[in-house]
Symmetry: C2
Subunit: 321 residues, 2 copies
């Protein structure tokens, strides 16, 4: 299959849905010939990205993330935005998506022509966000989606990387699930702009109030003043979700106005660059089977304490040609 | 100056103080000829490391870290240990060490022959812990110091790296300083095994109790059960410091017994390896002036959003010869 990258870039920028899907598939591909094409495509699209709001929605399986995104997304569209969603791929082992629920995830959004819902490409080993997720986001932005939601499970180490990707982060917790964070990585909680207690209804409401108080004093203690906003909502009943969207928008505007948004994105780009550099160098190391085997063997020996890390690193670096 | 690396290694292992100092200086050196010698030395010393307790003591300037280490160190020595300390270099800009106080930091310890106090080499740009700190720790361990304390300021991003280095982490906070963590990185608080409120005396005591309650519920909320132990002490009056040492030892024994220590150290070695690999590859990139200039220019352009990170990374990786 030959790909006319320039034509594809134009079609993406025109918002053609099939082209956007195709571009993301290309970006996700690990085939050598696709990698070069993807790079060329992304170079063309890059100037047309970065003007929208990047929203992260994280939380453990069962917290109701997809229902929340489904309902939140309708409010986003109603406000006149074009919405892209990088959703957790329910077929991925690590997603924790329920098998029964898969077919009905974000049903409403999937039908709306102002929205583009795409299972997020998860990286191999780490199971978390990858550079590919970031590049899929760029494709969506170039395609005219001025709000992009990145859904992540908040449990794995790699998931904390969502903070390297989004402008505003909402962590979804389950109302009334008791006095622990239900497995959510603390690093995520720290970076949260909004903590949303979902399924806040009936008997759960007093529990939410208690948790909110606890969280509020927790964050007050941890840093002066500006902790995340804690909200209670019910995605299923569409209660508190519009308010959540208003909160997100307000936060985004404040970040833009203060210059903090650009500052943060500069740091994100630097982190992205360093990760990409690591990946590119690792790819060079791994380009021969013998080098890859050597890397694996050395890492194993280093972990076991048998080889000095500095020595192993120097030897490997010397092997890069 | 020629260095007989094998003789130096033997002298270090015999605990010769001047040789230990010389070895650390060699390890810290960035001169090309020293780098190769340091590697050879560390390869010889590495099998004689790793059997002791690695303790991190972090906290903002003014929390009384050095006084605490001075007093704690005497208890460590009294318990029959040989103690190494990698202290914050008071001459470093980022240390926040008070100019007046410099000469009197850890006076007692500095006089004890069972202790070796050394200003910690801080890395260039980040101002935090570097791979050199880790290697200085190895030299101290090879020199027979079965307890090594690494002192760090708990404020910078790089400081969180102390958790990649130590077995047990004590975060020192100031009693009665109010309901924020006084600038300590939250990542550090998360990894703390013990939170020690220093200068807990007189009017401060009730404040410590309140803060302890708040912290305890904070950690209970954040994870099931096993948050850090919160203690109140006065380093200046040597109150609660022996108890702190007993707590640290107990924690270390529990980590050893459960196998968690080895698990954690495996992860630390892996992280160390990856950092060393990054450094070694960067050194290759930077080995010519033109490559270094190119790296800096590309990073700047990437941060400004002008160049696609993936493109910049691939181009740089291609330039490695």
């Amino acid at each position: 299959v030959t790909v006319d990258v320039e034509a594809l870039a134009v079609a993406v920028k025109n918002g053609d849905r099939r082209s956007i899907a195709r571009a993301i598939t290309l970006v996700e591909s690990t085939r050598a010939e696709d990698v070069a094409l993807a790079e060329a495509l992304l170079v063309l699209l890059y100037p047309h990205t970065g003007r929208g709001l990047r929203l992260g929605v994280s939380g453990v399986p069962g917290a109701g993330k997809s229902t929340l995104i489904d309902v939140l997304g309708r409010h986003v569209i109603a406000a006149g935005h074009k919405l892209g969603v990088l959703a957790i791929d329910p077929s991925s082992q690590l997603s924790g998506g329920s098998v029964l629920g898969d077919r009905t995830r974000m049903t409403e959004l999937s039908r709306a022509k102002e929205a583009f819902v795409r299972p997020s490409p998860s990286s191999g080993a780490s199971g978390g966000l990858s550079l590919r997720t970031r590049e899929a986001l760029l494709v969506l932005e170039a395609g005219g989606h001025d709000v992009v939601i990145v859904e992540t499970v908040g449990t794995g180490q790699a998931e904390v990387a969502v903070t390297e990707l989004v402008d505003v982060l909402v962590v979804v917790l389950l109302a009334g699930a008791g006095d622990d964070v239900q497995g959510v990585k603390r690093g995520l909680l720290e970076h949260a702009d909004v903590i949303a207690f979902n399924k806040a209804d009936g008997a759960n409401l007093p529990l939410v109030d208690a948790a909110r108080d606890e969280l509020t004093s927790l964050y007050a203690w941890m840093r002066r003043g500006e902790g995340p906003t804690v909200v209670a909502l019910s995605a299923r009943e569409d209660r508190g979700v519009l308010e959540l969207w208003q909160l997100i928008e307000k936060r985004f505007r404040a970040l833009s106005a203060s210059g903090e948004l650009e500052e943060r994105r500069r740091g994100q780009r630097r982190a992205w660059f360093l990760r990409a550099l690591q990946e590119a160098l690792a790819a060079r190391l791994a380009s021969s089977d013998s080098a890859r085997e050597r890397l694996d063997a050395l890492r194993e020996a280093v972990e076991a304490g048998e080889v000095l890390p500095r020595l192993a690193a120097r030897q490997l670096a010397d092997a890069v040609r």
